[in-house]
Subunit: 138 residues, 2 copies
DNA sequence: ATTAGCTGTTACCTAAAGGTTAGCGGGTAA
DNA sequence: TTACCCGCTAACCTTTAGGTAACAGCTAAT
């Protein structure tokens, strides 16, 4: 063997930079508190504005409205206005949203195990261990 | 068959709520612009403060410092201060960080395909299609 | 006729995240 | 001695996210 199969420090750095940039691109598109949540709610059948507001607990009308616009602009959803009577407005996922399934699955699984870990940590340590921060796992 | 294998609307809603809450928990812990980035950089061998600052492009010392503190507080990393000479400070991932690998992988793969899609969309549409927003894929 | 609900929009405001600049204490190299 | 790296920290400021509340146009119900 001469040099195959070993990565130089430079190769490591480049691989790392590439990974960082792809993750940054992903976070730019779907980062923030609400975008994934709205897509998840829509994937489970919620189509109407008020349905979404009820399902995605904590979101305000103003924020829901602006997030829906961004999601539409970015090709994740479409807004459909029926000409019938009464006029009804429905939001629908475009196929592109389904490319997020793997991400949603991974985040959900991790979130579940993380919640369990936090709960374990809280009960195993006494009521007042350290002036930590963070638990919040509703 | 009587009712097996069909989900009621209520079951759908509950499943959706559970999914939303697990994703919300995950985002609470690792959301934001920098936490995952720092963990990725550390997983590729960066241990020193300045190394991290160079690898994670765009982060400022102030923010890096505070994010490292949070990551330590939450059990993702440890700060190791050598007693030797000169005193060196190294940050290391704890095993818990590795539970994020699936999430990082999924985000990275999605980010790559998303970047490709944006580029395709930009070239297929003429130079000035719509007053869109968003591309940014550095 | 009044009221209430749906689907938003607008204006206004606060809070949190994050950037900039400066500097400090300790080391090391010229 | 001077000067520069490292690992921060403090003060300050800008930007962004997001909340509240009011309202508009429509329909359905009372």
């Amino acid at each position: 063997m001469k040099k195959e199969n070993r990565k130089s420090a430079k190769e490591f750095t480049e691989e790392c930079t590439a990974l960082l940039s792809s993750v940054a691109d992903a976070l730019y598109a779907i980062g923030g508190k609400w975008k994934l949540m709205i897509i998840i709610a829509m994937a489970r059948g919620n189509k109407r504005f008020t349905e979404l507001q009820k399902q995605v607990t904590g979101i305000s009308a103003r924020v829901l409205s602006s997030e829906l616009k961004e999601l539409e602009l970015n090709g994740f959803i479409v807004k459909k206005v029926s000409v019938g009577y009464p006029v009804t407005i429905e939001y629908e996922l475009l196929p592109y949203s389904h490319t997020l399934e793997e991400v949603v699955g991974a985040l959900s699984r991790w979130g579940i195990q993380h919640r369990d870990k936090i709960r374990r940590d809280m009960t195993s340590a006494g009521p007042s261990e350290k002036p930590n921060k963070l638990p919040k796992v509703k």
